[in-house]
């Protein structure tokens, strides 16, 4: 894992001091709320329906056990004993007092964490593959590149007042677990002719105008990816729309110029930037790589796994993935127990997971964009003990990527923008499909729920997407089918007229029942069936 050196620590400490000063000036009314708002937003502090919400960055979703313990402590001391893991691989606290926020940031800084650029019109937290450094199918660990992007983008003088927020994702596998084609910039690490570099997508995104990113470069050498990103950002900063907040994302610029013309402008800009040698030296990359050194694996770790316990066997089948190293596995901890709030974890659960990570997983934890947690390096021999400990506290739900593993935004329960509640809908769907045998029979099915068109719940990328809308003052829900945020990225399409809260749960069940009757067999996923048969059979099932 990356550890701060004296420079990183000094910068983060300075940021805490700066924010303390800004809060003091605000509390003394020396600056107006309008002037203060962008300052607090660039420190992740939002004013929500009931209180301030603080979003803490978890760079590329990686945490140490010590950091997780600190997050638990913060949940107890500054919040109501829990936190909410988000689709940006971050954590949010929903009940923060402004006057206490500087102390909270100081406690984060003490464990090498911050809330820098977790909101505002700047480059946000860099996201990545939650299996990075462990996946059997990756080219190399993408996180050193993500860390270098984190540093380069922190307090970037030219790109801190962009037209709109800007999100970058980095992966190193053909299997896309980070939805890179739905980011402002998506980077996939690849090799070409013996040179390491990136394939570059630009202009993907969800929100109210969902778009899939365009490839603007088939290959940029890794030694120049920062300056190439600089060229993309400069074209966006200069020409992205600022007249309409809803048309200000880079995807609209790419769309309006056309991908070809946008690419031409980026290349023209990069031709001017390349001679300036703005990139980090190779030595800096090597320094960061060294910090992501592999953990001290047990060379004698065995591949044997006793699956006699059926509950354990089911969890292994669903929540455990292959590791690149013999005798090891990747375990996902579901934060989607039936009846729970997707992504929520109590302080006690965070402490327990931190302890389990220290004991069984080389003290490392990952946050996934589907709001679950991952222990990336677990000896297969330890899986049963891990599962037993998780099961004792309700954290061993064997539902990864199944119908109850639902992404949901905070919705109208917390968010000032929402039109409708998301969490109760997720809970009702989960309750409807609580039977694990039924879930496993249905197979991979990703339901994603947003409480408004801003799409924080990624409904455009849901195999089944649900969008909360306001219909003459009543909460209503639209049903979308066929989205994907994986390497086969597609945008879900609205099936037909919307539903009430009870109606949407029934409609989801009808869709799933129809899928079961028309699929070629249990190995054909819902998404593949939908792509094969189209929307009509589902329309008929729901509206017929």
């Amino acid at each position: 894992m990356y550890r701060y050196d004296e420079y990183d620590q000094a910068i983060v400490d300075a940021r805490v001091a700066e924010f303390r000063d800004q809060v003091a000036r605000r509390l003394a009314n020396e600056i107006t709320e309008d002037q203060f708002k962008p300052l607090r937003l660039m420190n992740g502090l939002y004013l929500q329906l009931h209180a301030y919400m603080l979003r803490v960055a978890v760079p590329y979703g990686t945490l140490s056990g010590t950091q997780m313990h600190a997050l638990a402590h913060i949940a107890r001391k500054y919040d109501r004993g829990y936190g909410h893991f988000t689709t940006r691989q971050n954590i949010q606290y929903n009940w923060i007092k402004l006057a206490e926020a500087p102390d909270l940031l100081a406690e984060l800084a003490a464990v090498e964490m911050h809330a820098i650029q977790t909101s505002g019109n700047c480059i946000r937290n860099i996201s990545s593959d939650q299996f990075a450094g462990a996946a059997a199918d990756e080219l190399a660990d993408p996180r050193p590149y993500a860390e270098l992007l984190r540093q380069w983008s922190s307090f970037h003088p030219e790109f801190s007042f962009l037209p709109r927020k800007f999100k970058i994702a980095v992966t190193a596998s053909d299997t896309d677990r980070a939805a890179i084609q739905l980011h402002d910039i998506g980077l996939q690490l690849i090799d070409r002719d013996g040179v390491r570099g990136f394939k570059v997508w630009v202009g993907g995104g969800m929100g109210r105008t969902p778009m899939i990113g365009h490839v603007v470069r088939e290959f940029i050498p890794a030694s120049q990816y920062l300056s190439f990103c600089e060229a993309i950002l400069r074209v966006y900063n200069r020409y992205g729309r600022r007249d309409n907040i809803y048309k200000a994302r880079i995807k609209i610029l790419v769309h309006e110029l056309g991908a070809e013309e946008f690419t031409r402008q980026v290349e023209a800009e990069w031709a001017l930037l390349e001679p300036l040698a703005l990139d980090a030296p190779a030595a800096e990359y090597a320094r960061i790589v060294a910090q992501f050194a592999e953990p001290a694996y047990d060379p004698a770790a065995s591949d044997r796994l006793d699956l006699a316990d059926p509950g354990f066997a089911l969890w292994v089948k669903q929540n455990v993935h292959p590791h690149k190293r013999p005798g090891y596995a990747i375990a996902t901890i579901s934060l989607k127990p039936v009846g729970g709030i997707p992504g929520d974890a109590s302080a006690d659960q965070m402490d327990l997971i931190a302890d389990l990570a220290a004991r069984y997983a080389h003290d490392e934890i990952r946050v996934t964009h589907s709001q679950n947690l991952v222990l990336a390096h677990v000896r297969k021999a330890d899986l049963h003990a891990l599962w037993t400990a998780l099961d004792a506290v309700g954290l061993a739900t064997a539902n990864l990527d199944l119908v109850t593993d639902i992404i949901a935004c905070p919705g109208l329960d917390y968010c000032a923008l929402a039109n409708a509640r998301s969490i109760p809908v997720a809970q009702q769907i989960a309750a409807r499909f609580a039977d694990l045998d039924r879930q496993h029979d249905i197979g991979e099915l990703k339901i994603k729920i947003s409480g408004c068109i801003n799409a924080c719940g990624h409904h455009h990328a849901g195999h089944i997407g649900i969008l909360g809308v306001d219909k003459k003052g009543e909460e209503a829900y639209q049903l979308l089918l066929g989205g994907s945020g994986a390497e086969d990225t597609s945008l879900a399409k609205i099936l037909g007229p919307g539903f009430t809260e009870a109606g949407i749960v029934d409609a989801v069940e009808k869709v799933i029942d129809r899928y079961r009757s028309v699929r070629t067999g249990p190995s054909e996923r819902f998404l593949d069936t939908y792509r094969r048969v189209g929307a009509d059979p589902f329309k008929e099932a729901v509206y017929g």
């Binding site: 050196d5 420079y7 990183d8 000094a10 910068i11 300075a14 940021r15 001091a17 700066e18 800004q22 107006t32 309008d34 002037q35 708002k37 962008p38 300052l39 937003l41 939002y46 004013l47 929500q48 919400m53 988000t86 949010q92 909101s119 505002g120 019109n121 540093q151 380069w152 922190s154 307090f155 970037h156 003088p157 030219e158 790109f159 801190s160 007042f161 962009l162 037209p163 927020k165 400069r234 900063n237 200069r238 600022r242 907040i245 001017l272 930037l273 300036l276 703005l278 980090a280 030296p281 030595a283 800096e284 320094r287 935004c409 905070p410 968010c415 000032a416 923008l417 801003n454 924080c456």
Partner: protein, 160 residues
């Protein structure tokens, strides 16, 4: 998930030009006080030494004329409009060493970014407290990336 997705109501609009602003300069030479012409009115064959670039205008069009310019003023109609940072970077990258002035909605908390992007003179619509500016500029001891101010990124310090 946030209020930054809401349209922001504009605060009382600051004056677009800073005709009466107190100039805050970080240059050794005195700030240029002569007439400033709009980029649209600038003719290369004129003897004008100062040009103003609005937020949406292409600073690159001045590159052939940099040697004869003493001042380029870049407009910040709203502090949230970050186009001027790119204008400054572009002009400094092209070798402009004259006075580069940020004019308009220039606030204390933008000063670090503005200085790094190459501005060395400021015409804020609302006066800034020089002591507060000095403190803000000294707050961050290190920087993470190259910019027009030429400060060494930490990646140079770290790797000697």
């Amino acid at each position: 998930m946030g209020e930054d997705q809401q349209p922001v109501a504009d605060a009382a609009a600051p004056p677009e030009t800073a005709a009466n602003a107190v100039i805050l300069s970080f240059r050794d030479a005195p700030a240029y006080e002569g007439p400033v012409v709009a980029l649209a009115d600038y003719a290369a064959n004129s003897n004008t030494a100062a040009v103003r670039v609005e937020a949406g205008e292409d600073a690159r069009s001045l590159i052939p004329h940099l040697a004869r310019l003493r001042l380029i003023e870049v407009a910040f109609p709203k502090y949230r409009d970050g186009r001027g940072y790119s204008s400054a970077q572009i002009l400094r990258e092209a070798g402009f060493t004259g006075e580069l002035r940020a004019a308009g909605d220039v606030l204390l908390d933008q000063m670090v970014f503005l200085r790094r992007a190459g501005f060395d003179s400021f015409a804020p619509a609302r006066a800034l407290n020089p002591a507060a500016v000095a403190a803000a500029l000294e707050r961050f001891p290190f920087v993470y990336q190259n910019a027009a101010d030429g400060r060494q990124p930490v990646w140079v310090r770290r790797n000697g």
